[in-house]
Structure formats: C-alpha cells, structure tokens
C-alpha cells in the first residue's frame, strides 16, 4: 500500500541519517577507535558480573581513588555489586569523611557510615591541581557514559600506555597513550601487573584489572541497568500483546466498513 511504502521510505532515510550522524564523531578525533570488548552487561539480557565488579571496586579503592573521586556514589550503593551490609559498614568505617565542624568552627572528620558519599582524595579541584602539576583527574562516577566509546574506550586507555613511537614529540609531564585523543595524557600508567592482590585468586594482570575496574565503573555509571532490562522485557512483551489485541479489535470494529 502507498502508506506502507511511504513509511518504509521514511524509515530508510531515517536509518541512513542515523548512520551519517553516528559516523560523525569518529571523524573529529585522531586517535584510533578502541577495539570492542565483550562485556557482561551488553545485549538485552546483560547483567553485571558481580565478582568482577567487586574486584574492580578493590582496584578503584587501592589504585584509582588516590587521585579520582566518585562523588555521586555512596557506600550504601555497593549493595548493588553484591556486598553485604556488614561488608559495607566495614568499608565505610575504614575511611574518614568530612563531618561538619567542631566546636571551634574548624572542619572535622569522622569514620564513614554507609550513608556517606565516597571519600574524595582532594577537598576541591584546586587542591587536586596543586598536587598533580595542574592536572585535574576527572570524577569517575559517570566516566563510562561521558566518553565516546564508553567501556571500550576506558579499557583501551588503561591498556594503551606505551613508549611514544619514534619521531613523536612528547611534552614534558605527559605520557603517551595510543587511544587518548592527541596521544598525550596527563595520567601516568596507573595499572601494573601484580599490583592488586585478589582474594579470589584471579590473576592480577593489567588487562584483568582493567577489565574488572571497567566493569565496576560501568556499574557505577548505570547502576539501574539490570532492573531496567528486566522491567523492559515485561513491558515489551505486554506491549506486543496489546498491539495484537488492539489490532484485533480494530479489525473487528472496521469489519463492516468499505475502506
């Protein structure tokens, strides 16, 4: 029917447009596209590998949190990667967090509670820059969403440190990274083999630690993912059924009209 053809043409053109628009950002950067990794949360049935996320939290705590804050997270959120209330309480109590002012009016600290925000390594941006030669480590709460290439990109960065190729002019204080736009990143290579000892005996190679910490960061950026996909299936199924039902009603209602 004409209407169907018109709608088909619309969809086709729309698809081409989407392709053109999606292709656009890649042109803007000179770094290669990060290779695609297999992540446990991809696809309509994806979930977070909780063991990997817990190991990743360990990597974050022991390595990354020295410079990177995760201000949007609270310790109680860690229930989402399968930690128990007791474990969470212990993790929070092991750090000190800002706790208002004392009777003299000076800021004071206290052991964390599950309701505390993740402890930040620096009280503010200026302190971070002062400690790190002017560089400001980005907050990691949303980093997986905030970069083109998402989890693949973050993984590629963590594994992408190397010596600069011959002839490449590397500025003082910067480090060569294959996947960072411009190839010169202020962060020195953060992960090294054997750096974090995993309790469950998983080998602690750089790719493994990168994989785990990216899983943790992906969860941190989208903690609702599993519930969202589960509800999603029910809603989609319901709407497929409703489409069928409403179409049947429509056919019945229109049965006696020449149209």
């Amino acid at each position: 029917m004409r209407a169907v053809r018109s709608i088909f043409t619309c969809v086709l053109l729309g698809g081409l447009a989407a392709g053109g628009i999606a292709a656009a950002p890649a042109l803007a950067q000179d770094a290669p596209t990060p290779p695609h990794q297999q992540w446990s949360w991809e696809g309509p049935f994806g979930t977070y590998d909780l063991a990997a996320a817990q190991r990743g939290f360990q990597v974050y705590s022991e390595v990354c949190s020295a410079c990177h804050s995760m201000k949007e997270l609270h310790y109680r959120d860690l229930a989402g990667i399968g930690l128990s209330p007791r474990q969470i309480k212990a993790i929070a109590a092991a750090v000190t967090v800002p706790d208002g002012v004392d009777d003299q009016g000076s800021p004071k600290e206290a052991p964390g509670t599950p309701g505390s925000q993740f402890r930040s390594p620096f009280p503010n941006d200026q302190a971070a820059r002062a400690a790190l030669n002017g560089a400001l480590p980005p907050d990691l709460s949303e980093i997986v969403n905030a970069r083109e290439g998402h989890a693949d990109y973050v993984y590629a960065i963590l594994n992408g440190f190397s010596d600069p190729p011959p002839g490449f002019k590397l500025q003082a204080g910067l480090n060569y990274n294959e996947y960072f736009p411009g190839h010169q990143i202020a962060m020195p290579q953060p992960l090294h083999d054997g750096q974090v000892t995993y309790a469950d005996g998983t080998p602690n190679t750089v790719p493994q630690m990168a994989h785990d910490v990216v899983t943790f960061l992906a969860w941190a950026a989208n903690p609702e993912l599993v519930q969202r996909k589960q509800i999603g299936w029910r809603v989609v199924l319901f709407l497929v059924v409703m489409t069928g039902l409403t179409y049947a009603v429509k056919r019945k209602v229109w049965a006696d009209v020449e149209h």
Partner: protein, 186 residues
C-alpha cells in the same frame, strides 16, 4: 455482513459477546498497563534511597557524662539522650503512679539493665516546642527532668509530664542497645 432478522437472536448475540470479550480484555490490559505506569510515578514520591539511609541513627554513648544529656537529630526530630544519676533513677522509679498526669512506670520507658539511659523524642506534647534540660546548667523544672520555656510544661527524670499544660509524657523513639555503649535509634 449484517445478519438477517431470523438469526438476530442468538447469532448476533454470539457475535456481540465475542467482540465485547475482546474489547474487555483489551480494555483491561490498557487499564493494567496504565496503572502500572502510574504506580512508578506515585512510588517515586516515596522516600528516596538517601532519605531511607538516614532513617536509622547510631549513637556512641561514651562521651555523655553522668547527669548530662545531649540532643541529636533523627528523622528530622530532636532526640534527648540523658545519662541519669542513681539519684535521678531512684526518683523516677519511686513515684506513685497515681500522682502522674499520664501514668506510666519508669521501667516501661527504659531498656532492661540500662535504667541509667533515658531516650526521648524532645518535642513537648503541648504545642511542639523543644524543652530545655539536657545540660546540668539548663533549667530542668521542679522534678529535675525537662522544662519547656514556651508555656511552662515540666517533665521528670523519666520524661513524664508533671506540670501542664502538656497532656502527655515525652514520646519514646524506637531504639535498641547494640552494645552497652552504643544505641541504634530507628
């Protein structure tokens, strides 16, 4: 197409029933879907995770000296936690219930074996002011408990009202002793 008059009875009724059933199921489905969606909107107005996280408060009792009390906030309300002296405990326990405006035994207002700790919601039962009396230097009224500066209500060392216009004792929040030195309120 249209049925002849002869079959109008059962035949048409049969067609109508089938069509109505389909419409009924479809309508019911739409109503259920709409209700489920509306529920997510309504539930979003329930306390969020960060508010729920503050619904319980743990308190270390060690810094509170005997004879002294502190005020903490729990669920937006002031909570009095006073470390009673033996004299105050005896006063509270030995009052005849017939003398009380709102008769309640002291033993019902403290936890067993922890009679030296009284934990109260610090809101006067008259019109809601916060009574004075935690620090030893505060006015505590004639019964050594708390004194409400707004309209003169007075409470004893068990938080029971002894002088109006307040009609009832200071309320008790839900709490439990985690250890001898720590309580969890809420």
């Amino acid at each position: 197409m249209s049925d002849s008059a002869a079959t109008l009875g059962h035949g048409l009724a049969g067609t109508v029933t089938k069509r109505d059933f389909l419409k009924l199921v479809t309508g019911a489905g739409a109503a259920i879907g709409g209700a489920a969606f509306a529920w997510t909107l309504i539930d979003s107005m329930n306390p969020s995770a960060d508010v729920l996280a503050l619904s319980a408060l743990e308190l270390d009792l060690r810094p509170i000296a005997e004879g002294s009390g502190i005020t903490v906030r729990w669920q937006g309300k002031p909570i009095f936690v006073r470390h009673r002296t033996p004299g105050e405990i005896r006063q509270a326990e030995t009052v005849p219930l017939s003398l009380l405006i709102d008769p309640k035994a002291d033993s019902a207002r403290v936890k067993p074996d922890h009679a030296q700790w009284i934990v109260l919601i610090g809101i006067c039962t008259h019109l809601g002011c916060v009574p004075l009396g935690n620090k030893p230097t505060d006015p505590r009224g004639d019964w050594g408990g708390w004194f409400c500066p707004c309209h003169g209500s007075q409470y004893d060392t068990s938080g029971r009202v002894r002088h109006g216009p307040a009609p009832a004792n200071l309320a008790l929040p839900p709490y439990a002793f985690e250890t001898d030195a720590k309580i969890k309120i809420g």
